[in-house]
């Protein structure tokens, strides 16, 4: 396993965001994390990356506890694509991608010719090689997102964690980013991403974890986890999940039906109720991967 969360509680000492999260991602896996706004996806990612200390349970990267690894060791094993934000400095795209090489170079070093070649290749792999010299402040949101993905590639880690990589992207760019994620997985890179769109999980996910109020209510094969009932339960809206003739599955919400009221976003202590309401399905079904 590239990364493993074992019964992980995450958040802050005075405010627990989630608990009992267990995930395991191996080479070539694309794990999609789905869940409503504020359910704790980003906090879970930050804890898995060692940016926040776990409040219980543990995170293993490779076979080492994340707390025992230096930032440099973590960066060589896991790359992070944070949620899109406006670029502050007019670094060129190449300069920004080169920063992914910091973990591979010594304290006082400057990027080598090899680093520049790796960075340029990462940009080219994502089809944006021609943007290398452009200021990132002048790129579109989608282009910038791909530059950050290129930086993660240049980091040359076997696992990439992406926090809502498709947020704020137009339809075409969403498809492009998701296609890239699929190609990364084909190259044997493990990917964990959070998304708001069940269709993205159907499109690229080899596995899905559905999160609600800080707990993972189900995980496993996308079609097994993302049933209409469960999506309805978690998001509070009626949806149809339909197989297409070519074997793909899509999720289509009903816009005219009287929607359920907002799902209960009450305090964390009610999390168990939410799991319980899902009823016939086990509250946390770990997928075939196992530990």
């Amino acid at each position: 396993m590239l990364i493993e969360a074992q019964a992980l509680s995450f958040g802050y000492p005075e405010h627990l965001v989630g608990h009992e999260a267990s995930l395991a991602i191996g080479a070539g896996d694309v794990m999609c994390l789905l869940g409503p706004n504020g359910c704790g996806k980003t906090t879970l990612f930050r804890t898995m990356l060692g940016l926040l200390p776990p409040q219980g349970g543990r995170v293993l990267i490779g076979s080492d506890d994340v707390g025992r690894l230096s930032r440099r060791d973590i960066a060589r094993r896991v790359a992070y694509v944070p949620q899109a934000q406006a670029a502050l400095f007019p670094y060129t795209a190449l300069d920004l991608v080169l920063m992914g090489r910091v973990a591979h170079r010594g304290l006082f070093s400057a990027p080598t010719g090899e680093d520049i070649a790796i960075a340029q290749r990462a940009l080219t792999d994502l089809g944006i090689g021609a943007l290398a010299g452009r200021d990132v402040t002048r790129l579109s949101g989608g282009q910038r997102q791909l530059v950050i993905v290129a930086r993660a590639l240049a980091q040359a880690a076997p696992l990439i964690v992406m926090d809502e990589p498709t947020a704020n992207l137009d339809f075409g760019n969403q498809v492009r980013v998701l296609s890239e994620i699929r190609r990364l997985a084909e190259r044997g890179i493990g990917v964990v991403l959070s998304t708001h769109d069940p269709d993205h999980a159907f499109a690229v996910g080899t596995r899905v974890a559905l999160m609600h109020q800080g707990t993972i209510v189900a995980s496993g094969q996308p079609t097994a986890v993302l049933t209409a009932e469960r999506l309805q339960e978690v998001y509070g809206v009626e949806v149809a999940v339909e197989p297409l003739r070519d074997g793909r599955t899509i999720c289509a919400p009903f816009y005219n039906a009287r929607q359920h009221h907002e799902p209960d976003h009450g305090s964390f202590e009610h999390g168990a109720d939410a799991g319980g309401r899902i009823g016939s399905t086990p509250r946390h079904r770990e997928g075939e991967g196992g530990h």
Binding site: I74, Y91, D95, R134, T137
Partner: protein, 349 residues
């Protein structure tokens, strides 16, 4: 991945090549500034006179004429102080603007000038000798930033750079209050003018001894910044991203702050408070070579050095009396900064 207009020319290559020719250009400007500053003053010296005096200095002989004595014992230390102070303030400014991710940040942001000012004012108030005043100023600058850092480290769970800035503002304001109190208590005929002049900055009284005192501290601060300059880029992405990229952000920030503070405190101790250099010069340097700290630091140093030598030349030549250099840097810097704002480019370029 088609569909994207990616036909723009390679501006990175342009920037790099521009960066490459910027350094020789700035070096020439610096040489020019130094030569002009050596030649002009109350006692004008020809180019031959300057080179003759330098040649004599090089060969280790004692100065022969009054002209040579003026050049070597008064004017040269002053010019060298200008180089040192300008380069130090500009580098500290450029590194702080990246570190605090804010284009309005200057080297004073963590209170180093306020603290140094308090130390110097206390020294003047106690009628201490010049060396002690400078020592107190240096210690005051270091102690203030140290205090701000300790306060910020004690606050957990908030954006550490924001806490540092707020701490700097608060402690700086306290030091300012203490300075005001000492000004009220000071002897209005003897001490108060000295205090006022010190707080406006001047290179007039700088001699060789001050330079040999400040130089090691400036180098001690500058060398780590030069060595770490690629890595410092990563801090400008914010703590979390920097850590995810494999940088121990907190530790690196502490080193950068210590280095910048050491440089700033040691030059403020010999020159007094000279504002605006550390704010404006980084912007000009970024306009020329872009934000990549790896390429930004050397031009910023050269530019800061030339700028201060020239402004100091102005300070001692535009009027019969010596104009405090801090007044001139503000008069030159403020309109320039407004022009930058007016141009409306996104603050950083």
């Amino acid at each position: 991945m088609g569909g994207w207009d990616a036909t723009k020319i390679d501006t990175a290559a342009m920037k790099i090549s521009r960066g490459a020719c910027v350094i020789p250009l700035l070096a020439v400007v610096l040489m020019f500034a130094v030569v002009v500053a050596m030649m002009s003053g109350a006692y004008p010296v020809t180019l031959d006179g300057v080179s003759g005096a330098l040649a004599r200095l090089w060969s280790g002989e004692a100065p022969q004429t009054a002209e040579e004595r003026v050049l070597l014992s008064i004017r040269a230390p002053r010019v060298i102080a200008g180089l040192l102070v300008g380069a130090a303030l500009a580098s500290a400014g450029v590194v702080y603007q990246g570190l605090f991710r804010n284009p309005l940040v200057s080297p004073d942001i963590l209170g180093v000038s306020a603290g140094a000012g308090l130390g110097a004012v206390l020294g003047i108030f106690l009628s201490l000798p010049l060396a002690a005043i400078q020592g107190l100023a240096f210690a005051g600058g270091l102690a203030t930033v140290g205090l701000v850092y300790v306060i910020a480290s004690a606050v957990r769970g908030r954006d550490p750079t924001l806490v540092l800035i707020l701490g700097g503002v608060v402690v700086g304001a306290l030091a300012g209050a203490a300075i005001s109190l000492l000004k009220i208590l000071a002897d209005p005929y003897d001490q108060l003018p000295a205090i006022t002049f010190w707080l406006l900055g001047s290179l007039a009284s700088t001699r060789g001894a001050e330079i040999t005192g400040a130089l090691p501290a400036v180098l001690l601060g500058l060398v780590p910044l030069i060595l770490l300059r690629w890595r410092i880029n990563v801090l400008s992405l914010g703590d979390e991203e920097a850590r995810a990229l494999g940088v121990e952000a907190g530790r690196l920030r502490a080193v950068v702050i210590a280095a910048a503070t050491l440089m700033t405190a040691s030059v403020v101790a010999i020159s007094g408070v000279i504002g605006w250099v550390g704010l404006v010069i980084p912007h000009v340097a970024r306009m020329m070579v872009g934000p990549n700290f790896e390429r930004l630091l050397p031009p910023a140093m050269l530019m800061g050095a030339s700028y201060l030598v020239l402004v100091d030349l102005l300070a001692r030549s535009i009027a019969r009396i010596e104009v405090p250099i801090g007044i001139l840097t503000a008069i030159v810097g403020a309109p320039f900064f407004l022009w930058l704002l007016w141009r409306g480019r996104h603050g950083w370029s």
